[in-house]
């Protein structure tokens, strides 16, 4: 009997590995997503470039989504050309670019909203501080 996965991939199943924390570029939405836990997270939009991902029931981050990643990566490559040729990209470098790029949306916000944004960027930074993405998985190679 055909399973659902058989029906999803009639030309053959992709290679299946065990879940582990991972950063993955999703080309169709142009976003780099890092998730630490395999849960139905709750996405919390911070600005046009950053969404933080909360545990479904607990008050803790389980992931980060960097949106407009192609734009972020091109901007990063312009200021630090070595990122295009290095084997790995530390994800926190892209987060720094997002912090600067997304500031326009909060220019007219009140102090409390700006502090909230800064706090979420810091939480994201802590979560991905040791995460690097292989160069082959970046949008330039997609």
């Amino acid at each position: 009997m055909k399973t659902l996965v058989d029906r999803l991939f009639p030309d053959g199943r992709p290679e299946v590995a065990e879940f582990r924390p991972m950063a993955r570029y999703f080309g169709p939405i142009d976003a780099m997503i890092y998730v630490r836990d395999d849960v139905s997270y709750r996405a919390d939009r911070v600005d046009p470039f950053l969404t933080v991902l909360w545990h479904p029931t607990e008050d803790r981050l389980v992931g980060v989504k960097l949106k407009g990643f192609r734009f972020l990566f091109e901007r990063l490559s312009a200021v630090a050309p070595e990122v295009s040729t290095n084997d790995f990209l530390p994800l926190v470098k892209a987060l720094e670019i997002a912090l600067a790029a997304g500031v326009g949306e909060v220019l007219t916000d009140g102090l409390e909203k700006k502090l909230q944004r800064d706090r979420k960027y810091e939480q994201a930074r802590q979560l991905i501080r040791d995460v690097s993405v292989p160069n082959r998985d970046l949008p330039q190679a997609a």
Binding site: L4, L8, F9, F19, G27, A43, P48
Partner: protein, 176 residues
């Protein structure tokens, strides 16, 4: 669980999803799910994402009964259950400065799903707290529409049926 429409997606075509058109809620169209997105999720064994697709985007699924632990039919309307739709996301997408071709469907569901094995039977669990489920579909000017991503997002504090800050994140509301 099923609403007044009572239409189900075909189990034999797991990648083709029925949905109301963003510009005309009465018009039901078939949208293909991105095989690139699904392939990545399956490769990474991202079971919660596969479960969400099976249970909330497609919907015609079998689950493990919470009482008997046997497989039972427990279909949902999938994407046809959407009660709101927005068009355009306010962020760069690829080479475009804005995602003005992306529709975002909003679903309120009491459950989410895990897909812990490859037997075709999902596990139903309570939906994440204070959240709504969203499905993004790309509607290019020329070419076929494609479902590109899905996720739970925090609900608005003043309207628990819609995503938080929906005015800031989406360009326009299509229907509600």
């Amino acid at each position: 669980m099923l609403g007044p429409i009572h239409r189900l997606n075909d189990r034999g075509t797991a990648l083709v999803i029925q949905a109301a058109h963003p510009d005309d809620r009465a018009r039901i169209v078939s949208i293909r799910a991105s095989s690139e997105t699904l392939r990545s999720m399956v490769s990474d064994r991202w079971n919660s994402k596969i479960g969400e697709y099976v249970g909330l985007v497609h919907g015609n699924l079998r689950i493990t009964s919470e009482t008997t632990l046997e497989p039972i039919d427990a279909p949902t309307q999938g994407l046809l259950a959407a009660h709101a739709c927005f068009m355009g996301v306010r962020r760069p997408v690829g080479k475009s400065p804005s995602g003005d071709r992306i529709a975002v469907y909003v679903i309120q569901a009491p459950y989410t799903y895990q897909f812990p094995d490859r037997s075709g039977v999902a596990v139903r669990t309570a939906a994440p707290a204070r959240s709504v489920f969203t499905v993004e579909a790309d509607f290019p000017e020329d070419g076929e529409a494609e479902i590109v991503f899905w996720e739970w997002v925090l609900a608005a504090s003043d309207d628990a049926t819609l995503p938080e800050n929906h005015d800031a994140r989406y360009v326009r509301r299509c229907w509600l």
